[in-house]
């Protein structure tokens, strides 16, 4: 985007002196429907920030929501304080960040490694077949996946317990044992995204100029050296981009994974599976304290915005071209 702006600048400076033309009007008209959509579904909710500073009460039940909002008392930072001082808050923060850190590392290391491996398989047809099969989880919704998981993990009938018993072990009540869930969720996350991210990296690998490899072979480079000195450096920009995006989302989580796969994040395992998204969903669906709910989700948005901008700033310091903005 930065590149673009610098390129466009001299042109724009020239153009801005010229008058508003019929062309501009026509293009603006074409953009209006989408602008309206953005106003309603992206920008209107941003004003929810007001709600976070209000102690929303229905002042007059006959009047509209907006009337009540305007006439509710200001609450200052009370709503944010409430959320930050929740007993669960440190636990939720820890869960969200720890899961994300593990996911960020694995989401880069595993798919990149596997993409390099699969690009070296002799038979292209087999390689295509593996890719297609591994892509499937990406297209399954978490609801469907939660049934897959249930078939394996159900305490009484699950396949995994059947297998454990076959080998003489004891049944495990998976859905009520917190200690297994960090591993189960990490596994399920990897299971779902692995094929997809592998294919994305593979697409960049096939785009690498083959003459680089030919030159390397002539210089006597081994396959491992080629991967280390040609493939990885060529993938660097896309890896950095995926990394910034992931770091920017460090305070959010895949709600489906943490809520559907755990079958509603029940009380017994809540301490290891509750992330911000789960907590905020629970608040929104059970409590009518709009101010507190808004403060909780606003907190997540603001912190997320700060992290993505920071990550981007750091990246642009290191390598200007890999930055998002």
């Amino acid at each position: 985007m930065a590149e673009l702006k610098t390129k466009a600048k001299p042109k724009q400076a020239l153009k801005s002196r010229s008058k508003w033309t019929r062309d501009d009007t026509e293009l603006t008209v074409l953009a209006v429907p989408t602008m309206v959509w953005y106003a309603l579904f992206c920008y209107l909710p941003m004003f929810g920030i007001i709600l976070a500073f209000k102690d929303y009460k229905i002042v007059d039940a006959t009047k509209s929501f907006l009337y009540n909002l305007i006439h509710s008392d200001w609450a200052g930072f009370k709503n944010f304080q409430y959320f930050l001082s929740l007993k669960d808050f440190p636990m939720i923060l820890r869960n969200t960040i720890l899961y994300n850190v593990v996911f960020i590392v694995l989401d880069i290391v595993l798919p990149v490694g596997l993409a390099i491996m699969i690009s070296n398989i002799y038979s292209k047809r087999k390689s295509k077949a593996y890719q297609t099969l591994m892509f499937m989880p990406h297209f399954m919704s978490w609801v469907v996946v939660s049934y897959f998981v249930y078939a394996f993990l159900d305490g009484d009938k699950g396949l995994l317990n059947t297998i454990i018993q076959y080998f003489g072990g004891d049944r495990i009540k998976w859905y009520t044992e917190p200690k297994y869930w960090p591993y189960i969720l990490t596994f399920m996350h990897i299971w779902k995204v692995l094929g997809y991210s592998m294919v994305v990296y593979l697409a960049s690998i096939t785009g690498i100029d083959t003459s680089l490899y030919e030159a390397a072979v002539l210089d006597g480079a081994s396959k491992a050296q080629q991967a280390r000195y040609i493939t990885l450096p060529s993938l660097q920009p896309i890896i950095i981009m995926m990394f910034i995006l992931a770091v920017g989302r460090i305070f959010s989580s895949d709600f489906g994974l943490f809520y559907q796969v755990t079958r509603g994040a029940n009380v017994k395992i809540a301490e290891v599976v509750t992330t911000f998204d789960v907590k905020i969903y629970q608040m929104v669906s059970t409590s009518s304290r709009l101010g507190q709910n808004a403060a909780a989700s606003m907190f997540q948005s603001i912190v997320g915005c700060i992290t993505i901008l920071t990550a981007n700033a750091i990246v642009s310091k290191i390598d200007r071209n890999s930055a998002l903005i």
């Binding site: 985007m1 591994m134 297209f139 897959f148 059947t162 030919e214």
Partner: protein, 312 residues
């Protein structure tokens, strides 16, 4: 002739520069295992769904099914309860079709306008699309806006509108229009007196089928797989999509028996239901269409993702 020669040298090159046969076998085994791990669950679900309910109850889920333990009771039951499933299917199809058409339209219009650098509002619109990528109002305020201000609770449109546009898709469309549509085509059309409206619908859209397909697919799969909007905004069971029905069933299978077919009470129905098998049968029914369709569309997904990765 020379082409052929080049091809053979290339081949020799490839033959020279490849992993050892043992490594190749090891890699193949690794990927075979990974591929099976991704694919087998759907087979297991199917096996469970055709196993007799008594067997499931007493022995748990099994990895195999024999002629004695097989039964199609679950599917017969679903067939008898087809009004629930069919209704959900109609909702899913409606949402997917309307949403995809609307979403592609909105996305491409904005993508096209953004691709015109000479447009005076270009900077403003770029920011308009970019800001939501890094900052959002959050779940609570979206929920309040959708229910209180836009009045979308228990309304089919709440399943469609919020998912119609994403800045990611708009960026894909813009990058495509900017890189593949030559300015000269548009300039010449304008010299001939065409309005932007005509240029967009008569010239740009017809030659942009690849990007239309990519965005349509992203949207279609998104709509088809969505359960989150239903979970938040839909209580009316006649507006539940397939995914939402599956989701409600996870909480209680009785969901199905709330709407018994004529001549049956809920209690009768509950007794008749091969519970365990039905659960998995529905999951299978929801998963299979996608599992059969996606291989044909996979390449559009990949091309879309790589276009999206090109920044600018």
């Amino acid at each position: 002739m020379s082409k052929k020669k080049a091809a053979t040298t290339n081949d020799n090159m490839n033959r020279l520069n490849r992993i050892s046969p043992t490594t190749n076998v090891l890699f193949n085994i690794l990927f075979l295992v990974l591929a099976l791990m991704c694919f087998l669950p759907i087979i297991f679900i199917f096996i469970i769904s055709i196993t007799k309910n008594d067997v499931l109850r007493t022995q748990g889920y099994q990895l195999y099914v024999t002629a004695e333990t097989a039964s199609f009771d679950a599917y017969t039951f679903l067939w008898n309860q087809k009004h629930v499933i069919l209704n959900a299917l109609v909702v899913s199809v409606k949402v997917t079709v309307i949403g995809t058409v609307l979403g592609v339209m909105l996305t491409c219009l904005m993508g096209y306008v953004l691709s015109r650098k000479e447009h005076k509002l270009n900077g403003f619109l770029t920011m308009l699309v970019f800001i939501p990528m890094v900052f959002g109002g959050g779940l609570a305020s979206s929920y309040v806006v959708n229910t209180q201000i836009l009045g979308l609770r228990d309304n089919l449109w709440v399943l469609i509108l919020p998912l119609a546009v994403s800045s990611f898709n708009v960026t894909i469309a813009r990058t495509f229009f900017r890189t593949t549509i030559p300015d000269s085509i548009i300039e010449s059309a304008k010299i001939d007196g065409a309005s932007q409206w005509t240029v967009f619908f008569r010239i740009v859209l017809p030659i942009s089928k690849p990007v239309l397909a990519t965005i349509a697919l992203f949207l279609a799969f998104g709509y088809w797989n969505d359960w989150y909007q239903s979970m938040l905004y839909i209580n009316d069971s006649s507006l539940k999509s397939l995914q939402a029905t599956l989701d409600s069933m996870q909480k209680s299978l009785e969901y199905l028996t709330k709407n018994p077919s004529a001549g049956m009470t809920s209690a009768d129905l509950k007794k008749a239901m091969p519970e365990e098998a039905v659960r998995m049968a529905i999951a299978f029914v929801v998963a299979v269409p996608i599992a059969c369709i996606y291989p044909f569309f996979q390449k559009y997904f990949i091309s879309g993702l790589t276009v999206g990765a090109v920044k600018g």
